[in-house]
Symmetry: D2
Subunit: 382 residues, 4 copies
């Protein structure tokens, strides 16, 4: 069976540029599809860094202007790995040029911008996906299977946290290499768009829509040197954000994120409490799922620590043997695998731009609530 | 050295009646003091049950009316273990009669009632204490010592949860033996006064005052048979309560409590994130404290699981040898030990009625915020 | 119903003197029986310490010679808490005097001495018990229930460890207060009789007889000051002991104990692997049992962490409510409760002297194997 | 800087064929070296399977006879991934042909065979390495760094286990695809050469030589259908093996391995207890290292759970960002990276054939001891 080549043009060569390149290179070694990604072109501003990146990962060519990627007829899919403030412009241009689009999360700077992206991408009718990679952690996918099996019954609670500690140092500048996430102009928001967006995407996937939220944000370090001016300037991002809310299914939401939780590097945790069973997971031990089933015989009930490495666990039959764990980067491989399989079948992999718009609405509502001190209803994706 | 007898009259023989009786009986076997509690009299409504309780625990006499306890000249301290709606009346009467008072938590049904209790107890000038026993878990006391050592630096976050699952069954009635906590008239509130009050007391002790809160409550089971009427009636308590807030020291608060978290029996957890170190603890493994110290050498940093059973750990030198854990009931023994030592020294053990009033104000603010959907400022204890 | 008093005379007021006194005092507050222990007399050599002990715990009288305890007509049961080298003499004298006997573990210095004790106690026909308290940890008793349910199927492996670190300091003397365990004359052996005896007792209870063993011992600190001479003398005990063996049921044994495992205070762990299920437990979190059931649905299998605090868990219905853990001392309360219930029913609580003799034989075989470097068969208790 | 190509010829396309191919493909994306592996040729018996394997991984050519690989002038390094009984013949032929050799573990069927391999490879003077990949788990390498720092002080204990449960099913045949490990002729031994060899290699690396051992083996399922004959035949491998021993540094060894530990998929654990500190690790959470430092301040001592994902942790600076774990396959990437760096510097990466011979001697001694019931001294690698 001859396979169809899928020529990829990537824009951005930073951290996400590496995770995506790795995924494109590995996917065909582990997953079956009628499509094979080809690392066709990489685009970035700093040509020396771009060259080094392209050489290291085997991108066939480089471009210095993202428009060149979009204009190239030999590119099938545009993969956007740039800071958040350029997602919309690039994605819309790519869609209009008839390219498939893969876009790093969050989709956009805000809901209205996201709406326009959805409108354009759907008008173009091209395959599209947002890289909310944590849906593809096998343990999280297994959680989804448990939920779909109905084992939980009525849901009472969904709680999630994303705790980091890497910005406690007040000497870190805002902006600059690796630090655009501290610059409100580039990032749109702080932990809300960066970390809570992940938590929200998973939550909506696992537990459905959020109707209403009430939030609180804080900026612990009020001024940081800005890389553009070299001077101390007011910090515009949220260092921490907590919100509570109500899901459409009647369950309660408790969410928190911060970059000031000393001792936690990237501790994304989630827990769902249902009438009959509960599920918990955390990113620091991403290969395990905690599962409590009230239907187990009384004296012998306990939280099960499932080591999600068996061949009948999601995605795991394609990797090694039971007991041997995979890691973070594999979630991106899974996402590419699902994207390719979506092309095989014509049913696009989730989350699409439209799926990701809901997260954008929730982030907007969260930030609005934090600003006003009031509860805010989340608009429905039409 | 001859010791002074401290004659105790207890009111209530339920679950707390047992934990207190046990504490009074054991304390002198393990802790030194110039005072020795004597189990003088027990009071309760059901005389058969009262008799069985008094026999089992060695109470010297029984009374059917709490006023009799207060009127007896041979009683030094009145210990209140009744449902929340009778705390104020009994405590005030006892104070007026010149008795020392130990009162189960929460202090009162609400802040104003608590204010009156504080006024009366302080007018009487008698020793007084509220049984917020979790302050005396050795691991929690060790957390207090770490905080007081200054190891944490600036505090960014305080989060606490108290998760249970025992009321998921919709067939449980409200009111009746062991179930008065489901009856709003007797309990005042649901998880807020029952469980969050514990979390709040510890938080205020460890992290100082809360300035402002925003809360959400839910009653998942809307109607339950009432034990008094035998009919289904509207449930008045909060089954779950989440709130966020701001402490006076600038740190953020995230609190949650529920009785609908399947798989968690009594999971009280707390975590404090400081600039230089963090602390975490949970009631399901109460003999351990988690501690992360950023000042440890970089490559070898990790959360330490401290097995709080050494002789230099709080209270533990009075028990067994390193490695041998104690349990829940010991926290009450510690509280009595501290109460007795307070009598020895004249400096009353905390939390006093006044200390506990702050928790009452916070609970009121939480419930008001949940009702109004607005942020509510917490009054200061004058 | 009037209860029968059981007058206890205790010999020894050290660490075990405290755990037993506590058990005798508490048992009737928590467990039902037709018998009530009375703390009648305490005996010890240092009269000042003895007096303090007796006062603290409420022993009605004291004796300076253990023979006086045995000769008193008002004593029903003699409880032996002395170092190992005096167990036999006291127990045999007590039995001949018609007293019931409770004896601290290990039963004796060696098998032949134990045989004589069994012979005498059975000739006397009195109730007798050895304080192997870990059988009464609720999680361990739950393990026994799981095994008896047949859930494990054919057993392949039984492994146990008892790791401590308190004798690493080479300046500790051998002999003297609290340190007789380092003196071979008083203790008989080192970790073998002290720690492995516990592991062996539980193993034989849970998994049946051991047929044959091969062992290795080591004394890391070769000389220590002896408290009797004040001089450095050769250390005669084993600091560490490892052995392997075969159980009668065909499963393999792996045992290890040491007092040189830095970081472990009293880490007794055990694990049983059966064809269909496995069980694991450790003393540092004694309120939990780990249970893996292969019959659980494949994708959702995992080790269950059972929080052994429910009312249908062994012994736990007599304590508090679900989620609230008990500790080390409770195992002694349970043992007294079972002893009393044995008197109620006439079926003596285990382990009897005869039950404990098997552990003695295994310890002897272990030490012989370590000395000779050969496999040694374990004699059967006739 | 132009890089030197290193043409690889691999023999065997099974599980190890996949882990190695992945490592050769990924190494240059993550690690720097003057050498770049090229997937030149793959060799195997079943040509259809070989073709599929070569296509999936991008091997440029295939061969059906391993001698062809060795005879090809365009092959620089021969990578042996065949069952154990063919390692010696292939490795020796390759060495004689002047090829570098990478050989899957264990090195050989036994010590004498290994000696010949060492002799030949050293005579040839070619780079050589055995794939004991667990040395390159970052947490294990970090353990090595801690040991080399001297933090542990005098070592008292080294214990290791490797527990699996995949052969409990008595219907599994011996021999055939994926099951040659159950066939004594192909595997040489059971868990000893397969699993204990890993434990021993790490132990010798971390803790030095073993002087003497005493072992016990068991074959739980005595007969299995043999794939070659289709009939039930006696099983020749050890299903389980336990041994104890003494290291040259005076510490005690306790090792165990089995494929009959229900609930454990691939639980390799190790622990080292030193005078001043201890270390523990397990393969089921391979990204964590447990570390206890007695020099920490007394009250705040506890086992640290180090999440080995920081940029200053071994190998981790080449992967992602703190908090994001890697998995099993990465250990092979690290091993190739070190092999390439060894070529850069001329100092070959460990373990060489000579290093691996010690493990072979220990396995032989273990099996001899199990057969004879006596202690066996381990020969020194000359």
């Amino acid at each position: 069976m001859s396979k169809k080549k899928l020529n990829v043009g990537i824009i951005g060569y930073g951290f996400m540029g590496r995770t995506h390149a790795n995924a494109f290179r590995k996917v065909s070694n582990f997953f079956e599809s009628g499509h094979v990604p080809v690392l066709k072109a990489a685009c970035g501003r700093d040509q020396a860094k771009l060259k080094a990146y392209a050489d290291k990962w085997g991108w066939e060519s480089t471009e210095s202007d993202w428009r060149a990627i979009i204009n190239r007829s030999d590119i099938d899919v545009v993969d956007i790995c740039t800071p958040n403030d350029s997602h919309a412009e690039i994605a819309i241009a790519a869609a209009r040029a008839g390219k498939m689009v893969m876009c790093e999360k969050p989709l956009s700077l805000n809901g209205p911008q996201g709406e326009e992206m959805v409108r354009e991408i759907e008008k173009a009718g091209v395959a599209n996906m947002v890289w909310y990679n944590y849906r593809r952690v096998p343990a999280v996918t297994l959680a989804k299977q448990i939920i779909e099996s109905g084992k939980l019954g009525r849901i009472f609670h969904y709680r999630a946290k994303f705790l980091q500690d890497w910005t406690i140092n007040a000497d870190l500048p805002q902006g600059g290499a690796g630090l655009w996430r501290l610059d409100a102009a580039a990032a749109g928001s702080g932990v809300t768009g960066d970390l809570l967006a992940h938590c929200i995407d998973t939550a909506v996937w696992l537990n459905g829509s959020l109707d209403t939220v009430s939030a609180m944000t804080e900026t612990f370090v009020k001024e940081r040197v800005h890389s553009a001016t070299g001077k101390k300037e007011k910090v515009g991002i949220d260092d921490a954000c907590t919100f509570m809310g109500r899901f459409s299914n009647g369950s309660l939401a408790t969410f928190e994120s911060t970059r000031y939780a000393r001792g936690h590097k990237a501790l994304y945790t989630l827990e769902i409490n249902g009438e009959n069973a509960s599920i918990a997971w955390d990113l620091h031990d991403l290969h395990r799922l905690q599962f409590f089933d009230y239907k187990d015989e009384g004296r012998f009930r306990g939280w099960r620590s499932i080591h999600v490495t068996d061949s009948d666990h999601p995605y795991m039959g394609n990797w090694w043997v039971p007991g041997l764990q995979i890691g973070y980067e594999h979630t991106f491989v899974h996402q590419v695998a699902d994207f390719l399989q979506g092309l095989d079948t014509g049913k696009f992999a989730s989350p699409t731009f439209r799926d990701a718009l809901e997260t954008q609405y929730i982030c907007d509502a969260v930030l609005e609530s934090a600003a006003t001190g009031s509860w805010v209803n989340v608009p429905k994706v039409s």
